[in-house]
Symmetry: C2
Subunit: 140 residues, 2 copies
Amino acid sequence: MGREAIVSSTTAPGSPVALDPEQACPIAPVVDIVFSRWTTPILWALHEYGRQRFVELERRLTTITPKVLTQRLRQLERDGLVVRTYHPEVPPRVEYEISELGRSLAPLFATLAEWSAVNLDQVDQARRDYDARQRGTGRR
Amino acid sequence: MGREAIVSSTTAPGSPVALDPEQACPIAPVVDIVFSRWTTPILWALHEYGRQRFVELERRLTTITPKVLTQRLRQLERDGLVVRTYHPEVPPRVEYEISELGRSLAPLFATLAEWSAVNLDQVDQARRDYDARQRGTGRR
DNA sequence: CCCATTACTTTCCTATAGGTACCTACTATA
DNA sequence: TATAGTAGGTACCTATAGGAAAGTAATGGG
């Protein structure tokens, strides 16, 4: 999600007040941090399967490239959501696990999983209905 | 997020089992539907401020273009999360509101807002710490 | 006539996350 | 020697969501 600064705040009377980004959508920064193609699955895997090595994550998240896995893990480490532990061994041994802060996302993930289980079918159905409608009359 | 089909499922014994996308991250489809640059703020505004016209949303979400607003609203309508109501008037009057299905996202949004309020500062702090560490020693 | 309102539409461009393909370093083992 | 393991690094390319800028249609009012 974008992160540009938006100057607050006024428009003509009677029309909606244009809001600064925090009020426009206070959850935008979290969404930006946690939800993307690979960040979410990485966090999910660490939550689900616990502490593991780079190559374990790589295998588990089958189609991810080492490049992207590295990038995402670095960012997650920087955000404080993941802890990286280096072991001076050969072959190299580096382990990743969810941090305290990262673990605080667990209720959120649970809510998402719940919503997914209960409602995704309805989204699919809505899409089918919408597409059928589009094939009939045009938009009004 | 990507949605490519991944063939399940086996690797050598003792190593993590590569999973199909649903098990790899069951929340990925929801994330794909709900969380993006403009989808999330649109849903948030409709939840927060209720039924409103295109131009009201546009003004509220200050920097969004009519093109993108239209696209996102179309997709949200298609997903069944938003209801569009056309009024045969001049000037044109079209209103958008959250659907039943869309309203079921409210607990999720509340959890996100809560996490945001409580934890974003820690993310900022973690980033500062990480960056300071990077400026000191290199990575080990 | 011009300007205003509303809800879009169209064309072209940009930014960036991710993808592709190759590579490095350091052992350990056959 | 080659191959294996691990954790990455580098250069270039691609796909796509979003951005920029122009436009349309149908009134209504000054």
